[in-house]
């Protein structure tokens, strides 16, 4: 079966800094892929290449068999209507209300009437658990609410594919779990294919059908959560442990100061 998203030999550098080198990923229909990796390893760049916001230096991305980088702008916009993108900082239009944000694509790309759009907006907002926020401005929302409005906006056009850029970063553990559940619900209800970029191991193991780990611009593992856990690669194991010591960091981490701390600032636990 042909994959819905096919990333082939993708390389991208900004000046002398190579961000992605030779990344290959295939996502099948209805599958949920989690992309993990340290900060600044090019996970967002990967999503931006899939969306066509960046042009790769080598290789290509094909969505539904169409190579994104070879499309003209009109064709590209056609493909983008099938993809929903959730930005890390939500990127809501701050001059519009929540309602206008969610209904934006509907108003522009569908012949729906105002009432139909309002219904669809309510439906999308209730899917992310944000009923009755329609008239608020983005500046009146908390970080987690903004993300969820961003989700609602991304699913308004009923896309086949959803891309999440660090949906849980900077949220408290409870909200992280809420977001994880919403992603699972969307997958179950709408059967969407999704790529989620995340740092959060717990939600990744919940959401993912497969987990990919990007390390120094290369994809070093792409397997089911069960296999990922027992992957013997030292980088994978260090990432899972969340330990500073190991091959993961380019520069060696600062030494542990446990001994000093224990000597000069003893903590008394009664």
């Amino acid at each position: 079966m042909e994959p819905v998203i096919d990333v082939v030999n993708l390389s991208k550098a900004f000046g002398p800094k190579v961000v992605l080198s030779n990344v290959n990923l295939q996502v099948q229909e209805g599958e949920s892929l989690c992309v993990m990796g340290g900060s600044g390893t090019g996970k967002t760049v990967l999503l931006r290449n899939i969306m066509g916001l960046l042009t790769p230096d080598a290789g290509h991305v094909a969505v539904d068999g169409k190579i994104i980088q070879q499309l003209n702008r009109d064709e590209l916009f056609e493909v983008r209507q099938k993809i929903g993108m959730c930005f890390q900082m939500a990127a809501l239009f701050d001059s519009m209300t929540v309602e206008e944000n969610v209904g934006f694509a509907l108003k522009r790309h569908t012949p729906m009437t105002k009432a139909e759009i309002a219904d669809r907006v309510d439906e999308c907002l209730s899917m992310v658990g944000l009923k009755d926020t329609n008239k608020l401005k983005p500046s009146e929302l908390s970080g987690g609410m903004k993300r969820r409005v961003g989700f609602a906006r991304a699913i308004a056009l009923k896309p086949k594919i959803l891309l999440f850029d660090e949906p849980t970063t900077g949220l408290d553990p409870v909200m992280t779990d809420v977001i994880g559940r919403i992603i699972l619900d969307l997958k179950a209800e709408l059967g969407m294919t999704s790529i989620t970029v995340t740092h959060d191991l717990k939600s990744a193991f919940e959401i993912a059908d497969r987990i990919a780990l990007i390390f120094r611009g290369e994809c070093i593992a792409c397997q089911t959560p069960g296999e990922f856990k027992v992957n013997p690669h030292p980088v994978v194991q260090q990432f899972l442990r969340g330990d500073a010591d190991g091959p993961f960091l380019q520069d060696p981490p600062p030494p542990k100061r446990a001994l000093d701390r224990a000597l000069f600032h003893p903590i008394h636990i009664d």
Binding site: L53, E78, A91, R108, H109, L157
Partner: protein, 258 residues
Amino acid sequence: MLNSMLENLGTKILVLLDQAGDFAVVSGRAFRAIFKRPFDGAALMHQFQSVGVNSIPVILLTSLAVSMVFAVQLAYGFKQFQAEGLASQVNGLAIVRELAPVISGLMMAGRVGSAMAAELGTMQVTEQIDALECLATDPIHYLFVPRLLASAIMVPMLVGLSIYVGYWGGYLLLVGVEGQSSVVYASDFFKLLSFRDLRIALYKAFVFGVIIALVGCWRGYRTHGGAEGVGNAPTSSVVTSSLWILISDFFLTKLLLV
């Protein structure tokens, strides 16, 4: 030493050429996008409001001030060789041909162009423009076109207003203060002008409007580098569009007046 100097010069020239090319491409895309669907009437009306209606006070005040100062200068100057009667004629000539279009253009570059650059710049650094792209909306169509149309239509109208206010500014000074005849002022103001002069003034205003919108939007669209970038965008947009207003004013005058 020489090598590095040449290298720097070369880099600067390349950057300049690169920017000029980028501006040309973006402008071309903006002009083409004018005729694309869907047509966003609400956004256009909003821009008419913010570009046109909200600029009326600024244009009123500047035109009044400039025309009055100019009338003072002319009245004083012509008095030295007993030709006070010429003051109103030259005032009319100066206001319609140059002062109204150029002063209004520069004021609009400061008021409207900078606002466009700041707004689009903020949208760029907060990823809102990327979000537009992801919602399958061409930012050039959605953001540039209403601003371009509003500016191209409203700046000539404001220049019309500015000429009208300039007439009364001169009247206030020459008739009210200098004691010239109001009937003579009314006929003398237009004595050295023909209808063509008004038409040229409006052509100029149209070109200035296009320059203001395109430069403002383009600077905003190409903003990078966070808060500092957003801070630089309006400044450089005002400087660039003011320069181009003055340069194009010279060439338009030279071309249209012949």
